[in-house]
């Protein structure tokens, strides 16, 4: 009967192989050591995932922007301290009386990595590419009527209505990067790059991405010879690599490690509040979540402190609105104190039969959503709501979100700077990211007004009002703003941890 043993063994072999293939879906290069980045003056950075592509105008993936941040420039750039906009490729700018014409004076002596000179035609080309091809960032130009280049050192942007946040729209991140004219025709931008940034893109494969210093950078040559991004999916492996000197920098530090690393003198760990927020949203097209009382009941049942503590080990600020405390636009509004009795009463008022089942989509791509969902499930149970957690891969998650096939979901928005970015696309009627199906004419009106109000204080007031209604209606159930957590080798100088999680190695110096 030997044959009978053979069959299960074969099956077992397949099982083990399959499990391995599935388990390490991102490429993990345990093979470390010297590093392929070249000489001893190369910074090796461990990041958790591989960029999907290098076309800054097309990609929406954070791993891509980690690299592109160092390769491309924008006209203006957020200041590392308070994220206000400061000059980059544009040295200065003026706004006309009617707020409809912005004139940018470009920096002199800027060259692309291939040696060609940067001028206004490149700006017009880059912006027209985003607008004409309706790339993912084209909504950032929705008020832009024309982009003109009267002379090589001047760019004029004409607007259809006042746009107080134009600088944020064109400079918040490298998705608005300036490419050389005809770059899309001359290069395969998904794998090649020709920017004005401090580093050139040398090569990229399944194990890492290699950048080399661009000596003729307008801001001066970087102090390191190059940067190698190495993909290490497992946080424990990234940390080990940092501790034994294989890498000098990583952002793949899970929050549970913060405490144990703070006393560690072989790792320098820093945290700072980020501009990101995590939230839960319910489907307005599905009863009973279309009922405001039901959503409010759930909002009363959720204890955000406990969620933040569990999911982030305290490395987060619980928040009932989107904008974090450090921002000028922070709105101190917290109407929902955890109150199960109030929640039960609201459910009763809504005439909802309990136990009520609510599916909650989360994704293992962001493990904190899985953790947070379990805490939320335990908090909703006492008020008679059974949460069925559905852990999906991100692609499926996004498909179902797009198709409206959900009761509720949890995720975060990353890297927002302006209040319009925080609220407009998510809560405006039929907004491109309004997957929950929220519609409130009053909010629409306020968001419209906020987008064109040029007085900062008046603008803040408008967004405060909008946020109040959004929170009261529970279009989003805001949970918390996470902290950025990064670690590097002690003695690494010139690197600054930023709230917008932009990773810039221009002035970094190795120990």
């Amino acid at each position: 009967m030997r044959s009978n043993r053979l069959l299960p063994l074969l099956a077992a072999g397949a099982l083990v192989l399959g499990a391995c293939g599935g388990g390490g879906e991102s490429v993990d290069t345990g093979a470390g050591g010297g590093g392929s980045g070249g000489g001893g003056n190369t910074l090796v950075a461990a990041v958790s995932a591989q960029p999907d592509q290098f076309d800054p105008h097309v990609t929406t993936a954070y791993p891509s922007f980690q690299v592109l941040e160092n390769v491309y420039d924008t006209l203006v750039v957020p200041n590392a301290e308070d994220l206000t906009m400061e000059p980059s490729l544009a040295e200065s700018w003026e706004t006309s009386e009617d707020q409809l014409t912005w004139t940018f004076a470009l920096r002199d002596g800027v060259t692309f990595h291939d040696g060609s000179t940067f001028d206004s035609a490149d700006v017009v080309y880059s912006y027209r590419r985003i607008i004409d091809e309706q790339l993912s960032n084209s909504t950032r130009f929705q008020n832009v009527a024309a982009v003109e280049a009267p002379d090589p050192q001047t760019v004029v942007i004409r607007l259809s209505q006042p746009t107080p946040n134009l600088l944020e729209r064109i400079g918040a991140f490298k998705g608005m990067a300036i490419l050389p004219e005809n770059a899309a025709e001359d290069l395969d931008l998904t794998t090649e790059a020709n920017g004005t940034g401090p580093f050139r893109l040398e090569s990229s494969d399944a194990s890492g991405t290699v950048l080399s210093a661009y000596e003729d950078h307008w801001g001066g040559a970087p102090s390191v010879e190059g940067v190698e991004f190495r993909y290490i999916t497992e946080p424990a492996a990234a940390l080990t690599a940092l501790q034994n000197g294989e890498v000098q920098w990583t952002d793949n530090v899970p929050p549970q490690q913060i405490e144990s690393l703070q006393g560690d003198d072989i790792v320098e760990l820093q945290t700072t509040p980020s501009v990101d927020y995590w939230y839960l949203s319910m489907n307005y097209a599905r009863a009973p979540f279309d009922n405001r009382d039901v959503r409010r009941a759930i909002s009363y049942a959720v204890d955000r402190e406990a969620v933040a503590e569990a999911a982030r080990f305290g490395a987060a600020q619980p928040n009932q609105t989107a904008i974090p405390e450090d921002s000028f636009f922070y709105f101190d509004y917290a109407p929902f104190q955890p109150d199960p009795d109030q929640a039960r009463q609201l459910l009763q008022q809504a005439g909802v039969q309990t136990p009520l089942t609510m599916g909650l989509m989360v994704t293992d791509q962001f493990p904190e959503t899985v953790t947070a969902a379990q805490v939320i499930a335990s908090q909703l149970e006492p008020i008679g709501i059974t949460v069925e957690i559905e852990t999906l891969d991100l692609a499926t998650w996004l498909d179902r979100q797009g198709a409206g096939d959900f009761d509720a979901f949890m995720l975060g928005w990353l890297g927002n700077l302006d209040p319009a970015a925080y609220y407009q696309e998510q809560h405006q009627t039929d907004g491109p990211n309004n997957y929950q199906g929220y519609s409130n004419p009053q909010v629409d009106q306020l968001l419209q007004a906020g987008a064109t109000e040029t007085d900062q204080d008046a603008r803040k007031q408008i967004y405060d009002q909008a946020a109040q209604i959004i929170v009261d209606d529970v279009s989003y159930l805001y949970l918390y703003n996470p902290d950025v957590v990064q670690a590097w080798a002690p003695g690494l100088a010139g690197y600054q941890i930023r709230a917008d999680k932009a990773i810039n190695f221009e002035s970094v110096e190795l120990p």
């Binding site: 009967m1 030997r2 044959s3 009978n4 043993r5 053979l6 069959l7 299960p8 099956a11 077992a12 397949a14 099982l15 192989l17 399959g18 499990a19 599935g22 388990g23 497992e234 946080p235 424990a236 940390l239 899970p254 549970q256 490690q257 144990s260 406990a306 503590e309 569990a310 293992d364 493990p367 899985v370 953790t371 969902a373 379990q374 805490v375 499930a377 335990s378 069925e388 957690i389 559905e390 852990t391 999906l392 891969d393």
Partner: protein, 313 residues
């Protein structure tokens, strides 16, 4: 052809049902004799005892577990094993012992359901293919070959992708994966039994196909299937763990060993007990099913059986 050599033909007609056999029988029914032999194999006996304990734990899960498996107490998180929490607590402060106990119910239920499904469907297919031969055999076994051509976990993932994650679908997915294994084993066994003298004799006196299949062919083709069942249970538990580890099986917050392993992975350097205890549970269960399967094979193999029975006296 499947390429599997024919199993050893049974040495004597040994129907299990009382009153069927016409030859002289040993005084004890065969299954009791089998158990007796098994008990004399120390490894198999220990494995069977441990398995029995695990099954009991799974059956009386909620009565045994010290706390509810999903009771979150963030302030108590990542506690090392202690008297209050013998297996420690996880990142949400849940008692790991309770979760391992409740996980036994989840893991074994999925394992048993999956193997039961594969056994019933697979054995039926193998029986028909082996007994009728010709085109029935060709059609059924080529279908099985197609199923078998897929890597096991890939096929299970595909089934789950279509039907969505969850414990029930996981059992179904694993069951489908193991149908061809049972079909092949059964068919190979039936091919041998079909030509036995007692089957031909029975047919010659006019017994119907149904009677032949249920009274003579199946009982005598059963031993390899029983062995296969035990070994498949091991792999089903393992497959459930693998699928849950990948996030496709049991959904949080419900505990399953594979899922607990996945959750514990991020804490392995801070709190080893998160992954260690569910890992041990998987290891023990799979090992015991395998050892039991080995023991059963020895006991049910007629040649080995004679040897063992002889040496025992």
């Amino acid at each position: 052809m499947t390429g599997a050599p024919l199993p050893e033909p049974a040495v004597s007609p040994t129907a299990t049902e009382a009153g069927v056999s016409s030859t002289a029988r040993p005084p004890r029914p065969r299954w009791r004799q089998t158990l007796g032999l098994l008990a004399r194999n120390p490894t198999a006996a220990v494995a069977a005892t441990v398995l029995l304990l695990i099954v009991l734990v799974a059956v009386f899960d909620e009565a045994i577990a010290p706390t509810g498996p999903n009771e979150i107490a963030v302030q108590d998180r990542l506690q090392p094993p202690s008297l209050a929490h013998p297996f420690g607590t996880d990142d949400l402060g849940r008692d790991i012992l309770s979760r391992v106990v409740l996980g036994a119910a989840v893991s074994l239920r999925v394992g048993f359901l999956a193997v039961a499904f594969a056994l019933v469907v697979g054995a039926l297919i193998g029986l028909l293919a082996g007994y009728y031969g010709r085109w029935v055999d060709d059609v059924l076994m080529r279908l099985m070959d197609i199923l078998f051509a897929f890597p096991a976990v890939l096929l299970a993932i595909a089934v789950l992708a279509v039907r969505g994650p969850g414990a029930g679908n996981t059992a179904l997915a694993i069951g489908i994966v193991y149908i061809p294994v049972f079909a092949r084993v059964t068919r190979a066994s039936v091919l041998g039994v079909r030509e036995e003298v007692y089957v031909r004799a029975s047919r010659s006196v006019g017994a119907s196909d149904l009677r032949l299949l249920t009274r003579h062919v199946l009982p005598n083709a059963a031993p390899p299937i029983i062995v296969q069942t035990s070994i498949s249970l091991a792999f089903a538990v393992l497959a459930e763990a693998a699928l849950s580890f990948l996030g496709l099986g049991t959904q949080p917050p419900n505990p399953s060993w594979g899922l607990m392993l996945a959750e514990g992975r991020g804490f392995i350097d801070l709190a080893w007990w998160l992954a260690f205890f569910p890992g041990m549970a998987i290891f023990l269960t799979v090992l015991c099913f395998n050892l039991l399967g080995d023991g059963l094979r020895d006991v049910l193999d007629p040649r080995q059986r004679t040897l063992m029975a002889g040496s025992g006296r």
